[in-house]
Symmetry: none
Subunit: 401 residues, 2 copies
Amino acid sequence: MYESFFRTLVKPAQTKIVLLILDGLGGLPLDPLGDTELETAHTPNMDALAARSALGFSLPIGPGISVGSGPGHLAIFGYDPLEYQIGRGALEALGVDFDLHKQDLAARGNFCTLDGQGLLTDRRAGRLPTEQSQKLVQELSAIKVAGVELFLKPIKEHRFAFIMRAEGLSAQLTDTDPLKLAEAPLPVRPKTAAAERSAHLVNQFIAQAQAMLKDLYPANAIMLRGFAQLPEIPSYTDMFKLKAAAVAVNGMYRGVSRLAGMEVLDLPGSSLADEFSALEAKWQDYDFFYLHYKQTDTCGESGDFDGKVRAIEAFDAQLPRLLALKPDVVIITGDHSSPALMQSHSWHPVPLLLYSKLVRADRLAKFGERSCAMGSLGIMPAKYVMPLALANAGRVAKYGA
Amino acid sequence: MYESFFRTLVKPAQTKIVLLILDGLGGLPLDPLGDTELETAHTPNMDALAARSALGFSLPIGPGISVGSGPGHLAIFGYDPLEYQIGRGALEALGVDFDLHKQDLAARGNFCTLDGQGLLTDRRAGRLPTEQSQKLVQELSAIKVAGVELFLKPIKEHRFAFIMRAEGLSAQLTDTDPLKLAEAPLPVRPKTAAAERSAHLVNQFIAQAQAMLKDLYPANAIMLRGFAQLPEIPSYTDMFKLKAAAVAVNGMYRGVSRLAGMEVLDLPGSSLADEFSALEAKWQDYDFFYLHYKQTDTCGESGDFDGKVRAIEAFDAQLPRLLALKPDVVIITGDHSSPALMQSHSWHPVPLLLYSKLVRADRLAKFGERSCAMGSLGIMPAKYVMPLALANAGRVAKYGA
């Protein structure tokens, strides 16, 4: 209700909004009374911006729910993550720049290792080097299944995207990964009667793939999981009247940006400095930039508190390059929390900074969890952050006389 | 939507959650700039826990709404109190351990005093001693009404529970208590056509009861109110995968716990120390404990500010017994506020403390209304407190990749 109403008020303007996502930004102290990763980090640039900003937290879905990057990004992009659900396979396909069509069936593929009895000994085939994986994917691309088109795209290491194109496919299919060693990969099973044909088609592909790979230890088999089709989501142009660009290295984030109708920018390299360079190069061409930084989450998920601190500091060091462009609105937050203490995504609200010339500055001179707890934005559902940013950018008409 | 979605993520774990409800905990200062009851109380144990906890407020239904204990408890238990409404009569019947069936019609009964003209002179028959009331209830139990089964159960003092069992009864009936002295008790009237038969049946019972009691001053009549049937609510096992125990002295709280599928523990006595003893005795047997403390509300409702302060201090003195058991998650809050200044329940958000090893401690070293206002939990709808507690107890799966 709010969302559809808000859209009626959105108007264009000559202003620029930047959404900076430090993946898994929110943290926890190692000692209950100590500082979090963000509080520990020396971040003079974010702190100076914080003093002129409104602070608070963004909450991806709701209290107690830890989200993956997909729903976390949809939420901070301004979509209701319970209304728009994207399956893993669709995200992976988007992530490798595959032009996924509405009826395509997508899944995440893994090379894996089976023993002589056909039981799993390594679910990731020893994290097969990307070059070898690319070669195998090319070989598997020769497989034909009658009545459908098949597309296979290498991702990183042991991963690939599987896409089947035909009319009337269904994603109501079970995974083949048993998620345990010493068990055999499972056949794909239909969850509904309408998915029976799809299951049969995918199993035909798998049978041919296993036959081709059986002597190619350690990558002597494949598994497929996360079968999905694209949801329909309104584009940033339709929803917010924004010409939007995405700056992200990793596939999933490029994919979810493209789903939202953002143009994914080419990068001169994969460092954070390269990401800021890409943004600088296209500054005149877009109204909105989303910039994704993965390193904070990578360290959080691997339990590397100090690494996450350094990653945040590295981000802080790049921030002046953006501020020199004089953006009208800057949002700094994450798609979810990833405390090093937990070595995983968590449910904790994510620190949120909103800068514009029209914000009520909280005068809190530190960007960190405890200062955000005193911020005027409170705990804000993530889907409301973009509406607030648009207002700060002069892009929302008054309602009523 | 959030609630049903959340349920799909709940998973079991080997952790223990304790929900401590100080009934009517929230208060007000007697002098506008003074301290509330909770702030005045000397609570070294809760304060030490507060320093390692997240603070905030729980809001039973919404801004400006004062709740009774029934909806207040449903909310803090995690049910939407507007979705699940339990009538008074049903709560009273549950409260005296009556095995209320789904179609039963229940009401709260009062003995009262009428004068020679049949007008009320005392709505509570001088708070008739419980023993006398029990005897009268036994006599009234001889009443027969054709086509229905009747059950009468004594409660405390002048109160009793009235239950009628038959097919097709309706609770759409008006109260007989006019709520004013010098008026006559009212007949039961149907609010809908479907309730006409029920009204007729209940009025038959009342007529016989008044005839039996008419010479037994001061308890020479009865009144019935709060006609209700049980709502369908999901159990704690279904909703949260918790094996839940309730520790409560008073009937209503035992009743609402039982409705939520909790097992109501036997108590060695009715003191707060007895309640903690019951919890200690069964610590190994449950995942979740709800412990209810009535004294704070009793003092609040009677305007006894100092008594409420002492009640809070008495609770604080017992808290170490629980902490010694090393619970994974502890929630301290109330079902509503009951400021002594107002001598009633109030709409004010209720102080909320959430302790776990995974909480972002607010470093606020006092459990009180003003420190809660600075806490990171903000003003949290009461129904979200349990979801957050479950996350802190490792009982919620991540959503999405």
